[in-house]
Symmetry: C2
Subunit: 244 residues, 2 copies
DNA sequence: TTTTGATAAATCATCGATTATTTGTCAAGC
DNA sequence: GCTTGACAAATAATCGATGATTTATCAAAA
């Protein structure tokens, strides 16, 4: 299926602009599935709480059972999928209490990671933060253009991860990444527009400015508020849709 | 292989004292493997950093490939196993920096979870804490008897988990459980005796007493010290064995 | 001697088919 | 009418075999 390095046969896939070089990562079907399934869950294509029928999933993703099961097993780490013996896999459900926990943990984990980053982060990290902020501010978010929403989600996620990427604590970073994933699912499912009384751009800028200035208390307070506001916002939207 | 409910054929396994009733959980080979592999890694039977050869593992555990791969995929969540495309699975390596991160995160996560537990925990939780303390104090730990060490590890782990079990934050609890697993691997691998200058029993009692008295600062300070001392201890033992 | 490239061996990834379990259905008994 | 139990359909779990990739080996060339 995959043409090896040096092959003259062009691949028929959508990606692969450089057919003579092996792709970086994501070589196996199982690994590709992890990405595709994660995206499908976060974006809401796979409904929260719904059972994942292996036969149907197998068909709709055009894969065999083994890589599908392996991908789902790996997704348990992300908290996006749950499993029970002989009952199979299901998309993790959403709930008010789950959202509240995610918000709380993001406040705790991310402020801790940000403080650590400011303590030990180097100049390159500072630069990455400013670059991520700039990209975020230059990315348009228009509810009438769905593709801009997706793009904005990506750079927004990247901004928050960059903020804490200087902390030199890989386990902590992976936890934060997980929480951010779970949080993004709520936003992408329930929140297409931002609340009117917020200027999110300013919030991001304040966090970033405080961060590179290494003003720990200021930056962490701003970040905590930012996360908290998003949580409050989302909670309201969940309540409107009658989700307990 | 498995005799169904009501069957008159007795199982040949070591467990299953009540053959007429389905086991609670752990029904499938994959799930049993998760437990067995986790125990094998934490106990040090599977060497840290070593590659897991699927063919050999298949034979030594007497299972087929599919459940083995699925079990390993699930173990990634626990941070005990790492994976790379086309290179397979390996036991997560140990290092000084990894131990230090685990210690830091345990300090942060567990004190936060303990505070939350004291804030919202109910009377039943309090009772569970006192029971876990009592069991721990009554469990002997004799380096000359390996089976007592294993037993002690189990009740010790149970004590720490019970402490924070009142917090009503399932995601936080699972993170703490993961960190505790990783920490226990270091202790079981590198630390068979407790340091001479510590009275660990007193430390546990102080934490538990402060907890049920809902003295947040006292209990959390004692817990943080307790975790920190264990970390310092372990770090020394790692250094002695020349592990960077 | 070191490097390179081809080949062989080991190992991982995937598939299709088989077996085991759960869930849905419905009739018999209470 | 409600519960119980047997049967059938749907679904999950496992297996053995096949295909793909990586790693090891070693001879030829620089």
């Amino acid at each position: 299926m995959r043409s090896g390095p040096g092959s003259l046969i062009l691949e028929s896939g959508t990606e692969a602009a450089t057919p003579s070089f092996p792709d970086d990562g994501k070589n196996t079907i199982a690994s590709q599935l992890v990405s595709r399934l994660r995206e499908a869950i976060i974006s809401g294509q796979l409904e929260a709480g719904s059972k994942i029928n292996l036969d149907r999933a197998k068909q709709s993703f055009n894969v065999s059972l083994s890589p599908l099961r392996e991908a789902l097993a790996r997704l348990i780490s992300d908290g996006l999928v749950e499993f029970e013996d002989n009952r199979g896999y299901r998309v993790s459900p959403v709930s008010l209490s789950n959202l509240e926990e995610i918000t709380s943990l993001r406040e705790e984990f991310e402020t801790y990671a940000l403080r650590e980053s400011m303590r030990v982060g180097d100049v390159e990290w500072e630069g990455n933060v400013m670059r991520a902020l700039h990209r975020l501010n230059r990315t348009e978010r228009d509810a009438s253009k769905p593709e801009t929403l997706e793009q904005w989600e990506a750079v927004h996620r990247e901004f928050h991860l960059t903020l804490i990427s200087g902390c030199r604590k890989p386990l902590l970073l992976s936890f934060c990444k997980t929480m951010l994933n779970l949080n993004d699912r709520y936003r992408r499912t329930f929140l297409t527009r931002t609340s009117g009384d917020r200027n999110v751009s300013v919030e991001h800028s304040e966090i970033a400015q405080g961060t590179v200035a290494r003003d720990m208390d200021y930056a962490c307070d701003r970040l905590r508020e930012h996360i908290h506001r998003t949580g409050t916002n989302l909670r309201r939207h969940l309540a409107e849709k009658g989700i307990a």
